[in-house]
């Protein structure tokens, strides 16, 4: 019984994370990723020191949904600012200053703009970490002997263990056939 099957049945102590293949050139990584995906794998990932152009299409990374989250928060920021300025100036503490109306669109725009930006920035920042499931202290990929070079000059391709086609030995072979310099079944 392969570790993956054991894993599915819930037996065995070792949980397999997947097969990692190592490349030293981003173009090779993209080409290899495309081939691996062509074999029918769906749960693929890559670990690279910088965002590699074309990898998203090659291994099927879904488009980011962050934009929608940010738009919602931008609108929330606009509403908050307008509500605040109106309520403070015209409802809770109405006071005529400099002959200006208690509420007017003209002078509410600077603060509204700033709050819209502030809310959007927090959404873009926190939203990104939330979607990515970070921060986290441990990840199984860290077990791989060269994982520290994925932030330097190595480009890692991963076939994850929860891929329906995943079988450690066979997947490792597949990884070798697409040109990975180093291949390892990683248990974490």
């Amino acid at each position: 019984m392969t570790p993956a099957q054991m894993d599915k049945l819930g037996i065995g102590d070792d949980k397999v994370y997947g097969v990692i293949g190592e490349f030293s050139d981003p173009h090779d990584l993209v080409a290899a990723g495309r081939k691996i995906r062509g074999m029918g794998y769906t749960k693929l990932d890559a670990m690279t020191p910088f965002p590699v152009h074309g990898i998203d299409d090659a291994i099927g990374v879904p488009a980011s949904k962050l934009g929608w989250i940010v738009v919602c928060f931008t609108i929330l920021g606009i509403l908050t600012a307008q509500g605040l300025i109106y309520w403070v100036g015209a409802v809770n503490y109405p006071l005529v200053i400099g002959g200006k109306p208690l509420y007017d669109v003209s002078y509410s725009i600077p603060v509204t703009f700033e709050l819209a930006v502030l809310f959007s920035a927090f959404a873009a920042f926190l939203g990104m970490w939330a979607i990515n499931g970070l921060p986290r202290l441990y990840h199984p990929s860290m077990v791989y002997k060269n994982s520290h070079r994925a932030s330097d000059d190595r480009f890692l391709l991963v076939i994850e263990a929860d891929d329906p086609m995943f079988e450690p030995a066979k997947s490792a072979d597949h990884m070798r056939t697409v040109g990975a310099a180093e291949v390892e079944v990683v248990e974490g």
Binding site: H53, L66, V88
Partner: protein, 469 residues
């Protein structure tokens, strides 16, 4: 690009490769070794510089303590010049910060690849400059421990609210938003590089510190996709933000009825001035850092030249604004408007006005010549004169407009006190100290972004065999 360059080698002259590194690992080494070196083996010149700037920072602390102890009277602000050095310095520092955001956000949106070598330090500079700027209004309140009254927090001790009709409260929102967003943007850019440092760390302390700061970043393709989206959004919102901040600062003046303050071109004029002074400041710091930390391979002459071109453009925009203001003051046919501008140029503060014009409008014109634009000593001197000129610009706007207003019997002449001067010098010390600490302990160059450019250029210049050394 690759095709174009292969067919027309002449293009190399126009777009030479930006980065000189053998491979990705070489690049990582070049940048990380500055941060990773043994603290006790840092060159002595670094510690000496830090000691000097550190003592100036202590001076700042002393001045602020003295100010709080005695009250705002120790500054020279008085009728008719109620806003003087403090707000001049505030606007000056905020302006310095703007180049950082411009380099990281606007040049990113314009796909200017050369920005990657300088954006990190420029962003850090933004943060430090905004900190210096914040000190002045904060302490001008007289009781900085009550500064939270500036924010619309329901309070029981006063039971009043902020006046949203006042441009000063817009400033509170603009500057605090600016600082927060710049911090988020800067940190977002820093995370992949912190992960690089974590992975290279040899001591336990560094592993733990960088491990925590890098938030478990592992460079997963899925993460990169969201990360790039987040970065793009932050860049896209920072771009109007940076315009808005200095526009709102300009509203502090332009919403008034004071001749010389009330003019509709102020918002874009202030923004251009801010970018101008900010680029000059980045220039000064980069020339020093490039020399002290041997970054010639990463911050190349091409980078410096591009920045000089931006200094030339923004300097000229500022010149355009001066000319328009002057012309419209005359064109208005309004006695007070006309007088305010004549008084600037020929009145008691003529020396400040002409310093401003010389430094801001005339001196950048030297950058028309390629020879001067690519000469390190020339650009160093001009970057400093630009900063002097831009400080004087704010001084001219603020002081000359206030010291003689509609009523000749209330005219006066402002002189700074020693506390004014020392506080300003102190903020320069704080700024430099923070920058030195940053340059030594954090990656000053965005490693992952520079690698992206290197990867692109490797494809582009394959045939030219342009490699390091």
């Amino acid at each position: 690009m690759s095709e174009a360059v292969r067919q027309h080698p002449a293009l190399m002259e126009v777009n030479p490769p930006l980065i000189r590194a053998k491979d990705y690992h070489d690049l990582t080494e070049q940048i990380s070794e500055i941060t990773e070196g043994d603290v006790f083996k840092t060159p002595l010149k670094y510690w000496i510089t830090l000691a000097i700037t550190g003592s100036i920072t202590v001076l700042l602390g002393g001045m602020l303590t003295f100010l709080v102890w005695n009250g705002i009277g120790v500054w020279g602000n008085n009728r008719p010049v109620g806003w003087a050095w403090d707000i001049t310095n505030f606007v000056f520092w905020i302006g310095i910060g703007h180049a950082g955001t411009l380099i990281s956000a606007i040049l990113f949106l314009f796909r200017q690849k050369w920005r990657t070598s300088i954006n990190r330090s420029a962003e850090a500079m933004t943060l430090f400059a905004v900190m210096c700027a914040g000190i002045f209004p904060l302490f001008h309140t007289g009781r900085p421990w009550r500064a939270y009254w500036l924010f619309p927090i329901p309070n029981t001790d006063l039971n009043i609210w902020q006046n949203f009709r006042s441009p000063l409260i817009w400033d509170v929102f603009a500057v605090s938003t600016y600082f927060t967003v710049s911090l988020l943007f800067w940190f977002t850019g820093l995370v992949p590089d912190l992960a690089t440092l974590r992975d290279r760390a040899v001591t336990r302390t560094k592993q733990v510190v960088f491990g925590l700061l890098s938030l478990g970043w592992r460079g997963s393709a899925r993460h990169w996709r969201n990360y790039e989206m987040s970065y793009l959004i932050l860049a896209a919102i920072s771009t109007p933000l940076v315009l808005s901040v200095h526009s709102i600062v300009s509203f502090d003046f332009a919403t008034s009825v004071i001749p010389g303050w009330h003019t509709t071109i102020f918002p874009p004029y202030f923004v251009a001035g801010a970018i101008f002074s900010g680029f000059a400041c980045v220039m000064t710091l980069l020339i020093i850092a490039r020399w002290a930390l041997n970054l010639n391979n990463i911050i190349t002459m091409k980078h410096l030249e591009n920045m000089n071109k931006i200094i030339l453009v923004t300097g000229s925009v500022v010149g355009y604004a001066y000319a328009t203001e002057f012309f419209i003051a005359w064109y208005s046919g309004n006695t007070y408007e006309r007088y305010a501008f004549l008084n600037r140029a020929l009145g008691p503060y003529w020396w400040a006005y002409w310093t401003m014009v010389t430094c801001n409008v005339i001196s950048p014109q030297f950058f028309w010549f390629k020879k001067l634009r690519t000469s390190i000593p020339v650009m160093f001197v001009l970057s400093i004169t630009t900063n002097i000129g831009m400080w004087f610009e704010r001084f001219v706007i603020i002081v000359t407009s206030l010291h003689r207003d509609f009523l000749p019997s209330s005219w006066g002449y402002f002189k700074p006190t020693w506390v004014d001067i020392c506080t300003f010098i102190g903020t320069i010390g704080l700024f430099l100290t923070l920058f030195l600490l940053f340059a030594r302990f954090l990656p000053m160059i965005a490693i992952s972004e520079v690698k992206g450019v290197l990867s692109y250029e490797k494809g582009a210049f394959k045939d030219q065999e342009v490699v390091a050394k």
